[in-house]
Symmetry: C2
Protein backbone atom coordinates (compact mmCIF):
# COMPACT_ATOMS: atom_id res chain seq x y z
CA UNK A 1 0.00 0.00 0.00
CA UNK A 2 1.47 3.42 -0.84
CA UNK A 3 2.32 5.69 2.04
CA UNK A 4 -0.33 8.25 2.91
CA UNK A 5 0.24 11.71 1.48
CA UNK A 6 0.82 14.48 3.99
CA UNK A 7 1.74 18.04 3.14
CA UNK A 8 5.20 18.92 4.49
CA UNK A 9 4.74 21.09 7.64
CA UNK A 10 6.82 23.92 6.21
CA UNK A 11 4.71 24.05 3.04
CA UNK A 12 1.58 23.97 5.16
CA UNK A 13 2.87 26.83 7.33
CA UNK A 14 3.93 29.08 4.45
CA UNK A 15 0.80 28.76 2.31
CA UNK A 16 -2.99 28.72 2.14
CA UNK A 17 -4.81 25.97 0.24
CA UNK A 18 -6.42 27.09 -3.03
CA UNK A 19 -7.78 23.98 -4.71
CA UNK A 20 -7.02 20.42 -5.77
CA UNK A 21 -6.38 19.37 -9.34
CA UNK A 22 -6.15 15.82 -10.72
CA UNK A 23 -2.56 15.39 -9.50
CA UNK A 24 -1.63 18.39 -7.39
CA UNK A 25 -2.75 20.44 -4.45
CA UNK A 26 -2.56 24.11 -5.34
CA UNK A 27 -1.33 26.42 -2.60
CA UNK A 28 -0.96 30.19 -2.39
CA UNK A 29 2.31 31.37 -0.86
CA UNK A 30 1.63 33.86 1.93
CA UNK A 31 3.82 36.50 0.32
CA UNK A 32 2.04 39.51 -1.10
CA UNK A 33 5.11 40.71 -3.03
CA UNK A 34 4.18 38.60 -6.07
CA UNK A 35 1.39 36.17 -7.06
CA UNK A 36 2.98 32.86 -6.07
CA UNK A 37 1.40 29.43 -6.42
CA UNK A 38 2.87 26.11 -5.35
CA UNK A 39 1.76 22.81 -6.89
CA UNK A 40 2.31 19.72 -4.79
CA UNK A 41 1.72 16.35 -6.47
CA UNK A 42 -0.19 14.16 -4.03
CA UNK A 43 2.42 11.43 -4.10
CA UNK A 44 4.17 10.49 -0.89
CA UNK A 45 7.96 10.35 -0.78
CA UNK A 46 8.62 11.66 -4.29
CA UNK A 47 11.35 14.30 -4.30
CA UNK A 48 12.29 14.66 -7.98
CA UNK A 49 10.15 15.41 -11.05
CA UNK A 50 11.54 12.53 -13.06
CA UNK A 51 10.60 10.01 -10.36
CA UNK A 52 6.93 10.63 -10.99
CA UNK A 53 5.40 8.08 -13.36
CA UNK A 54 5.50 9.34 -16.97
CA UNK A 55 1.73 9.88 -17.03
CA UNK A 56 2.02 11.93 -13.83
CA UNK A 57 4.86 13.99 -15.33
CA UNK A 58 2.60 14.87 -18.26
CA UNK A 59 -0.26 15.72 -15.91
CA UNK A 60 2.03 17.91 -13.83
CA UNK A 61 3.02 19.85 -16.94
CA UNK A 62 -0.68 20.36 -17.76
CA UNK A 63 -1.31 21.63 -14.25
CA UNK A 64 1.70 23.97 -14.43
CA UNK A 65 0.19 25.35 -17.65
CA UNK A 66 -3.22 25.74 -16.00
CA UNK A 67 -1.68 27.60 -13.05
CA UNK A 68 0.28 29.79 -15.47
CA UNK A 69 -2.90 30.73 -17.34
CA UNK A 70 -4.66 31.58 -14.08
CA UNK A 71 -1.80 33.86 -12.96
CA UNK A 72 -1.65 35.59 -16.35
CA UNK A 73 -5.38 36.16 -16.43
CA UNK A 74 -5.68 37.51 -12.89
CA UNK A 75 -2.38 39.33 -12.39
CA UNK A 76 -0.90 40.18 -15.81
CA UNK A 77 2.72 39.48 -14.78
CA UNK A 78 5.60 40.49 -17.04
CA UNK A 79 7.08 36.99 -16.77
CA UNK A 80 6.34 33.66 -15.18
CA UNK A 81 8.98 31.81 -13.19
CA UNK A 82 8.50 28.06 -12.81
CA UNK A 83 10.80 26.03 -10.62
CA UNK A 84 11.20 22.78 -8.72
CA UNK A 85 14.06 23.22 -6.25
CA UNK A 86 13.45 21.37 -2.99
CA UNK A 87 16.80 22.18 -1.40
CA UNK A 88 15.07 23.09 1.86
CA UNK A 89 11.77 21.18 1.66
CA UNK A 90 12.34 17.75 0.15
CA UNK A 91 8.69 17.03 -0.73
CA UNK A 92 8.30 17.55 -4.48
CA UNK A 93 6.68 20.93 -5.16
CA UNK A 94 6.66 23.27 -8.12
CA UNK A 95 6.61 27.05 -7.83
CA UNK A 96 4.62 29.02 -10.44
CA UNK A 97 5.23 32.68 -9.82
CA UNK A 98 4.20 35.89 -11.53
CA UNK A 99 7.11 38.31 -11.77
CA UNK A 100 7.20 42.04 -12.56
CA UNK A 101 9.97 44.28 -13.79
CA UNK A 102 9.04 46.43 -10.80
CA UNK A 103 9.23 43.71 -8.13
CA UNK A 104 11.85 43.80 -5.40
CA UNK A 105 13.87 40.82 -6.63
CA UNK A 106 13.75 41.47 -10.40
CA UNK A 107 15.61 40.28 -12.43
CA UNK A 108 16.95 37.80 -9.89
CA UNK A 109 15.02 34.80 -8.59
CA UNK A 110 12.47 35.51 -5.85
CA UNK A 111 13.62 32.42 -3.92
CA UNK A 112 15.97 33.48 -1.16
CA UNK A 113 15.53 37.16 -2.05
CA UNK A 114 14.31 38.45 1.28
CA UNK A 115 11.48 37.93 3.71
CA UNK A 116 7.89 37.32 2.67
CA UNK A 117 5.46 40.23 3.05
CA UNK A 118 2.21 38.99 4.58
CA UNK A 119 -1.10 39.71 2.91
CA UNK A 120 -3.28 42.25 4.69
CA UNK A 121 -5.75 40.36 6.85
CA UNK A 122 -8.74 41.38 4.75
CA UNK A 123 -6.95 40.74 1.43
CA UNK A 124 -6.10 37.05 1.76
CA UNK A 125 -9.60 35.51 1.65
CA UNK A 126 -10.77 37.54 -1.38
CA UNK A 127 -7.54 36.59 -3.16
CA UNK A 128 -8.15 32.90 -2.47
CA UNK A 129 -11.72 33.23 -3.74
CA UNK A 130 -10.55 34.87 -6.99
CA UNK A 131 -8.02 32.10 -7.51
CA UNK A 132 -10.57 29.35 -6.81
CA UNK A 133 -12.99 30.89 -9.28
CA UNK A 134 -10.26 31.16 -11.92
CA UNK A 135 -9.22 27.51 -11.51
CA UNK A 136 -12.87 26.41 -11.58
CA UNK A 137 -13.30 28.40 -14.82
CA UNK A 138 -10.60 26.25 -16.50
Amino acid sequence: MPDAFNLHPRLAADTEPVTRLALCRVLLMKDARVPWLILVPERADVTELHRLAPVEQALLMEEIAAASRVLERLYRPDKLNVGALGNQVPQLHVHVIGRYRSDAAWPGPIWGSGPAVPYAEDALQPELERLRAAFAGG
Copy 2:
Protein backbone atom coordinates in the same frame (compact mmCIF):
# COMPACT_ATOMS: atom_id res chain seq x y z
CA MET B 1 6.23 30.08 -42.31
CA PRO B 2 7.46 30.01 -38.71
CA ASP B 3 10.36 32.25 -37.83
CA ALA B 4 13.78 30.62 -37.96
CA PHE B 5 15.13 29.45 -34.62
CA ASN B 6 18.29 31.12 -33.39
CA LEU B 7 19.87 30.59 -30.02
CA HIS B 8 19.85 33.79 -27.96
CA PRO B 9 23.38 35.29 -28.02
CA ARG B 10 23.67 35.28 -24.24
CA LEU B 11 22.77 31.57 -24.05
CA ALA B 12 25.26 30.88 -26.82
CA ALA B 13 27.98 32.81 -24.99
CA ASP B 14 27.43 31.16 -21.60
CA THR B 15 27.24 27.54 -22.77
CA GLU B 16 28.70 24.79 -24.93
CA PRO B 17 26.42 22.66 -27.11
CA VAL B 18 25.96 19.08 -25.91
CA THR B 19 23.36 17.48 -28.16
CA ARG B 20 19.94 17.88 -29.76
CA LEU B 21 16.86 16.01 -28.63
CA ALA B 22 13.49 15.82 -30.38
CA LEU B 23 12.41 19.24 -29.10
CA CYS B 24 15.35 20.85 -27.35
CA ARG B 25 18.95 21.77 -27.81
CA VAL B 26 20.93 20.67 -24.77
CA LEU B 27 23.63 23.04 -23.60
CA LEU B 28 26.23 22.81 -20.83
CA MET B 29 26.60 25.95 -18.74
CA LYS B 30 30.24 27.00 -18.57
CA ASP B 31 30.24 26.96 -14.79
CA ALA B 32 32.26 24.22 -13.13
CA ARG B 33 30.69 24.81 -9.69
CA VAL B 34 27.83 22.40 -10.45
CA PRO B 35 26.71 20.18 -13.35
CA TRP B 36 24.30 22.54 -15.14
CA LEU B 37 22.37 21.78 -18.31
CA ILE B 38 20.06 24.11 -20.20
CA LEU B 39 17.32 22.81 -22.49
CA VAL B 40 16.17 25.20 -25.21
CA PRO B 41 13.07 24.17 -27.19
CA GLU B 42 13.76 24.91 -30.85
CA ARG B 43 10.74 27.15 -31.18
CA ALA B 44 11.25 30.77 -32.17
CA ASP B 45 9.65 33.50 -30.10
CA VAL B 46 8.23 31.30 -27.33
CA THR B 47 8.93 32.76 -23.89
CA GLU B 48 6.64 30.79 -21.56
CA LEU B 49 6.26 27.03 -21.00
CA HIS B 50 2.50 27.09 -21.35
CA ARG B 51 2.70 28.74 -24.80
CA LEU B 52 4.29 25.63 -26.25
CA ALA B 53 1.75 23.35 -27.93
CA PRO B 54 0.48 20.70 -25.48
CA VAL B 55 2.39 17.92 -27.29
CA GLU B 56 5.55 20.02 -27.02
CA GLN B 57 4.95 20.60 -23.32
CA ALA B 58 4.78 16.83 -22.79
CA LEU B 59 7.93 16.33 -24.85
CA LEU B 60 9.73 19.01 -22.86
CA MET B 61 8.86 17.21 -19.63
CA GLU B 62 10.26 13.97 -21.10
CA GLU B 63 13.47 15.76 -22.04
CA ILE B 64 13.75 17.34 -18.58
CA ALA B 65 13.45 13.80 -17.17
CA ALA B 66 16.10 12.51 -19.58
CA ALA B 67 18.49 15.32 -18.61
CA SER B 68 17.78 14.63 -14.93
CA ARG B 69 18.66 10.97 -15.34
CA VAL B 70 21.90 11.85 -17.15
CA LEU B 71 22.95 14.23 -14.38
CA GLU B 72 22.12 11.70 -11.67
CA ARG B 73 24.03 8.94 -13.40
CA LEU B 74 27.17 10.97 -14.13
CA TYR B 75 27.36 13.32 -11.14
CA ARG B 76 25.35 11.82 -8.24
CA PRO B 77 23.96 15.17 -7.06
CA ASP B 78 22.15 15.45 -3.73
CA LYS B 79 19.25 17.26 -5.42
CA LEU B 80 18.15 18.41 -8.83
CA ASN B 81 16.93 21.95 -9.40
CA VAL B 82 14.73 22.51 -12.44
CA GLY B 83 13.65 25.99 -13.43
CA ALA B 84 12.33 28.14 -16.24
CA LEU B 85 12.90 31.78 -15.30
CA GLY B 86 13.79 33.93 -18.30
CA ASN B 87 13.88 37.24 -16.44
CA GLN B 88 17.14 38.16 -18.18
CA VAL B 89 17.06 36.04 -21.35
CA PRO B 90 13.54 35.95 -22.78
CA GLN B 91 14.03 32.92 -25.05
CA LEU B 92 12.36 29.96 -23.35
CA HIS B 93 14.99 27.79 -21.67
CA VAL B 94 14.89 25.30 -18.80
CA HIS B 95 17.71 24.82 -16.32
CA VAL B 96 18.39 21.29 -15.04
CA ILE B 97 21.07 21.54 -12.38
CA GLY B 98 22.73 19.08 -10.04
CA ARG B 99 23.09 20.52 -6.55
CA TYR B 100 25.19 19.42 -3.59
CA ARG B 101 24.89 20.10 0.11
CA SER B 102 28.52 21.17 -0.19
CA ASP B 103 28.09 23.62 -3.09
CA ALA B 104 28.68 27.35 -2.62
CA ALA B 105 25.04 28.40 -3.01
CA TRP B 106 23.34 25.58 -1.05
CA PRO B 107 20.54 25.66 0.05
CA GLY B 108 19.74 28.80 -1.96
CA PRO B 109 19.22 28.85 -5.70
CA ILE B 110 22.37 28.87 -7.84
CA TRP B 111 20.87 31.53 -10.12
CA GLY B 112 22.24 34.91 -9.16
CA SER B 113 24.48 33.37 -6.50
CA GLY B 114 27.82 34.61 -7.69
CA PRO B 115 30.07 34.42 -10.73
CA ALA B 116 30.51 31.30 -12.81
CA VAL B 117 33.76 29.37 -12.36
CA PRO B 118 35.15 28.38 -15.76
CA TYR B 119 36.04 24.77 -16.49
CA ALA B 120 39.74 24.05 -16.73
CA GLU B 121 40.72 24.17 -20.40
CA ASP B 122 41.44 20.44 -20.56
CA ALA B 123 38.30 19.50 -18.59
CA LEU B 124 35.57 20.93 -20.80
CA GLN B 125 35.87 18.69 -23.86
CA PRO B 126 36.00 15.42 -21.88
CA GLU B 127 32.96 16.59 -19.90
CA LEU B 128 31.05 17.27 -23.12
CA GLU B 129 32.01 13.83 -24.45
CA ARG B 130 30.76 12.13 -21.28
CA LEU B 131 27.49 14.00 -21.49
CA ARG B 132 27.02 13.17 -25.19
CA ALA B 133 27.67 9.49 -24.52
CA ALA B 134 25.18 9.52 -21.63
CA PHE B 135 22.43 11.15 -23.74
CA ALA B 136 23.13 8.74 -26.60
CA GLY B 137 22.82 5.83 -24.14
CA GLY B 138 19.23 6.92 -23.36
